[in-house]
Symmetry: D3
Subunit: 291 residues, 6 copies
């Protein structure tokens, strides 16, 4: 076998890999997929951003309508600490006073959002950054008096996203909301992703997190659940079989199912190309939830 032949053979294998994706491309062509990308993903594994962006762009080019929703927890912590502003927490939620809100806005809109958009645009003029205030997309009110400017979603208007998707763009949404008096709010990004996925009648909602998925026994990696019904997850929540940071994520996932999203996926975003693997193979990465 000559060198050239070896090359050709290797290329043929690669070409074959491309065609293996055909059934998945067909199945999701023209469908909407909402992806929640966590701030952890960026900070824990800087290089993973590039493979994530490649995945997003590839999904777009093969005809999937992709919406990215992001938060930025660790980055907000960093800025607050730099500004010497201490945070307090009530029932697991950061109390958001006016100054904290400024930092949240500056991080999400001024750091995370342009970072994602500009990286996506290395592959063409695709990414457009928006927040829930743009086009009054995410209407909020305060979740409680004591939490300050932490918002609870009252109504979402997906028309701006629909328009951007129709133009062939990839909207990148920062989890900021707005009320009817033009006050901005800090909103949990998982909830924003669920609400938008519902309003867009998305086929899939994918949470890229820093855990593998839901485990039958939280402490035992071998008990990772590949697929489960929404009702089963509800039971696990009632049984307290779900704990810690997974609780709000599970509730967001259930909300999306309730809003009519066909399947919700919880994946470890640190795994290279986790998104692509989940959409383009039958092999379960993480946990898939369905109605």
């Amino acid at each position: 076998m000559t060198a050239a032949q070896a090359d050709i053979e290797e290329l043929s294998i690669k070409a074959h890999t491309l065609t293996e994706a055909l059934p998945y491309i067909k199945r999701f062509w023209g469908k909407t997929v909402v992806i929640k990308y966590g701030g952890n993903a960026v900070s824990d594994e800087p290089k993973s951003l590039d493979t994530f962006v490649e995945d997003v762009v590839l999904l777009n080019f093969v005809g999937i309508r992709v919406v990215v929703v992001h938060g930025g927890g660790p980055q907000i912590d960093a800025l607050l600490s730099r500004l010497g502003h201490a945070s307090s927490f009530v029932r697991g939620l950061r109390v958001t006073d006016a100054e904290t809100l400024e930092s949240v806005k500056m991080v999400l809109l001024g750091q995370m959002n342009p970072l994602l958009v500009s990286r996506i645009n290395l592959h063409g003029a695709l990414g457009v950054g928006v927040s829930g205030a743009d086009g009054s997309m995410v209407l909020c009110r305060a979740i409680s008096e004591e939490h300050g400017y932490v918002g609870k979603v009252v109504r979402v208007d997906p028309s701006l996203l629909e328009n951007l998707l129709q133009m062939g763009r990839i909207p990148v949404v920062a989890s900021i909301g707005v009320d009817e008096e033009a006050q901005l709010y800090n909103v949990n990004a998982d909830l924003v992703a669920s609400e938008l996925a519902g309003a867009l009648k998305a086929e899939k909602l994918v949470f890229l997190t820093n855990v593998e998925g839901i485990r039958g026994d939280a402490s035992d990696p071998s008990t990772l659940i590949r697929q489960m019904k929404a009702d089963e997850l509800k039971e696990m929540l009632q049984d307290n079989s779900i704990s810690g940071g997974m609780i709000p994520k599970a509730n967001s996932a259930l909300l999306a199912i309730e809003r009519g999203v066909a399947s919700v996926h919880l994946l470890d975003g640190r795994l290279p190309h986790a998104l692509l693997l989940e959409v383009f193979t039958d092999h379960g990465i993480g946990t898939m939830l369905y109605a």
Copy 2:
């Protein structure tokens, strides 16, 4: 005359005022107007934001395609000082190192842009915030090595703005640019406004500043020039009759004329409803420049 009659009469006068705007509405219906709104305008006269927003929304409702471009100089200074980061200037331009750029992005995208968008949206889901990185709209490269991340506009792609305008939105543009390696840049907002006005074939470009306009004699308010040709302004620049902060503004205005914008207006944005007066009356507020 009864009270009710007096009311009716007053109302009739108001109705008459509305119809006086008819010839202007007809003239600009369907045309594009780009407005540069300075950071000073917000900080000097907080209430002026509300009347500015009313003007912008009214222009939109009477059929004008409005684009707002904003900077945020004073607010950037405030954040840098709060973060204890000193700025140095070279030939009148702020040297923008990585940390300064972070502050620029956080202020423009995280503070100024959502402020303008959310205020506009008090009047309906109209405003959509974008930066020059969205849709790769403002392509830049470094203006010089010593200035760091200060960008020089290489090319603008107005397609995202065209799409937003077509959907009936009011785009609010933060003066951030991006290069081909996804590096963001701080770009002078006047230049961004001029380039976008040119690319959008705008009818008018309006600079809302904190001076009345161009004066024949900079120290004498009574020498305000109402209308002038671009060539006259060029001569004044060569004669050094223009000085200080007006020099870059004059250059931006000339650039817009060169790019094909029909008229450029320099107004004092602190005057209530300055924008509306300029568009809807024949009475000259500030200085109008034309080819």
Copy 3:
């Protein structure tokens, strides 16, 4: 205060007046308003035509879809008398023989309609005159044998008006109908306006007449009713509290409400800018009827 400053101040007040209309513009943007303009309005107060036309054109430019319907009673009387053709009336309706019908057509189509259209077009190529025969828009049959060519509306086809509105035109409709044998009819303009408003799903139907509105006590101007429910008007009709020329007008208004029009307004068209005041202020001019 210098003269220039005084000017500026006056202009600012005018600009403020413009922005006061914003909430109304927003509320009616894209909505349809049908206006019945009576022949009396032209003959009683010739100058009022100009302010009426300004109002119509302004409504159009701020995004309202305007349809004008007109009759021409006094002008028809004048032509008939000039041609020496006496009219007889049966139960309040003019008996319309072939010769009378010729006069009706000549006045409505040959005098009133081009007058309104050409005045509107002083503000741009907006007005397009049509009659109920154009595009078979108003299908009629004879109201009774003894009334001759007085038509009763059988069905309206609003597609021609929809098309003209979509092109940005202001249709001006003469109250002529047609039957299935191509016979034309004289139709009451109030009824035509009500039927068209219903078929166009109009937001508002405005009758510009020569009375102020409906009074609780017909002889006492101070009893003008600002707002009333359709049911209250029905009761007044049954109680005979409504009399004379107001009876058919009241019935037309009730018909429009029945056809689904949100509100019907009876105004004194002789008041300058009555139309604009009714649409653009909360202050009640005349009487507003709603379901």
Copy 4:
């Protein structure tokens, strides 16, 4: 041969006749044909209106964009005489004072136009009557001071006709013009037809008159010219070989050729289905003029 067979045979011949029109239908499908229909045609031969209307509707259904332009000379004479208003003529043109103009408008817009429209609409909601004032379609100025309100065409705006044609309607145009001060004018219908045909880039302009066409020798019917170049007609005009009422018609025809219309046809409209024969056969009816 049974009776039924005879029927079938007759029907087959009819079907064959239909298919004979195929080459003409193909040739003119999607093309615009402007038809000038004279007032004489209606008054001389009342029944001819029905066959004319059938022809117009058939052309429309086989995919030709048809515009009808009409005058109403004899009918105007009748009304003026009835109103006891004498006409004077200067250089062959009726002096049109304000009162004469009123009669012209009443006849064209109030009698002729709705007559044509309502007859066309016996075949569906196709006809829409317009005048040159609608949509400011025919802009005029006075032809001379002494002629009063006789208009000379300054500019035509075919956009309203284009829109109506696009909706599948048949516009019926009364030869009324308007100037920039909203003054209406009496305009020669042949000229209006020529100008509109030019502006619409019509394939054909057909004058339906009460003469057979242009004759080599005006007094000898056997010298009817079937086809001629525009230049030949110009020479005949210079030679005074054309006389009387044919002179203005010839000039209008030449104007249309100059405006880019491919062919102009002068036909005797009293011949049943003259229009259809001209468009759908190769046999020359009347005279065809081409560049």
Copy 5:
């Protein structure tokens, strides 16, 4: 009467014939008509193809959406015999082995389809040949094991035809189906026509055959039934009053009625212009079936 006058008179009669078609053109304008054209029609009466094609093209030009479906029985027999491949029949259906299927495909797609398409295109670039495999239009499965590749229609997807009709084309459909494993099938053309007519919500389905229509008494031509309800035909089938080759045709016709087609026509395609006569006259050619 001169020769020219005689000509003109003859032409006038022809023109009148054209206008007689007006009511039918109006009734069917924009409607869909599916025509089953049998292989017999071509072989029995070669010249009839030209008049058939003229009819099809004329229907298209007067605004009817025409779809032609064809089989090719006699031509298939000829090819099979030439290739020395004998056919066997089970319950009236040709057993279709792989080799027979090849011949069916070669005749329908390689002979009949391009013949029809190219003849239609003598009148413009109108005809586009397709089979049930194109765009997966006719999905089949085997009708029984013993019949081999004889298909039974499982589902039709009319989107390709809708698209072609929208572009103004005349689709010519060969009666080939396909299953989900890409196996092609021989499908009865009458059934394909009925299923497509149903899916396209056709106004009419016309079977051009070599018999006159349905007779009350199969042996007596004078008992031809002009119009009948679907229920009456069902009864005749149950009574065995229908026999031979008419049975499957009757069943296809009933299927179309069931699928919502307004009327089904059985005509003798050998009669010149039979199609046009059926669509454009009230005189019954053949038998019309309705719900």
Copy 6:
């Protein structure tokens, strides 16, 4: 490493392979690629059809507008021999009498075309088979009297292909042409592909053949030319460095370049996924020709 981990790792590699195609997908998104698929490809290596079809469908799903053109030489030989009809050749071209033409049509339209279409449609309702007669797409005349029905392309009308591509279909074109008298012709498929690629302003034309590409020395595989300019190929043709079946292929390739196609590729279609490798890698398979 656990089994699951091994799986994940393998999947990650596959995912990475997918993203490697991104730059190529971006470059060709929305572009048109015409592919000539030879009859040899099917007969020599039956399984290659499946991988070819996968490649075509994948290109379509990633946004490339794909047109497949095919011939069927070997299959035509087979049918002719089966029908006992000998072929003669004149100057390398098969003399095509009426009977030969029938066989050509039957093979191309009845065998090859539905085979390709139905295989493509295993991946969705994408493929639509057409010939040059459909929509009068490929207009021909006889190449010479002695060659009979061998066609020479006179003009191509790509509108049908444009329409099909716009609907998202994959047109599959059989190399049949038609003249203005509806006579069909046998046309060289390479020429049809070149002409269509030119008319569609294709980015690429790919010839899938049974040779590797063009060699500097025809007898030495190691002299395969990876890239060459059109002018170099012309020189080789003049030098007689190109011989045999490669001559007409080289001429077709040059024709496409002349018609404005950016690059023409000659590949060995027997190599699995040759098409995908050529479009999606920088590694040269075969020979690429450019202007």
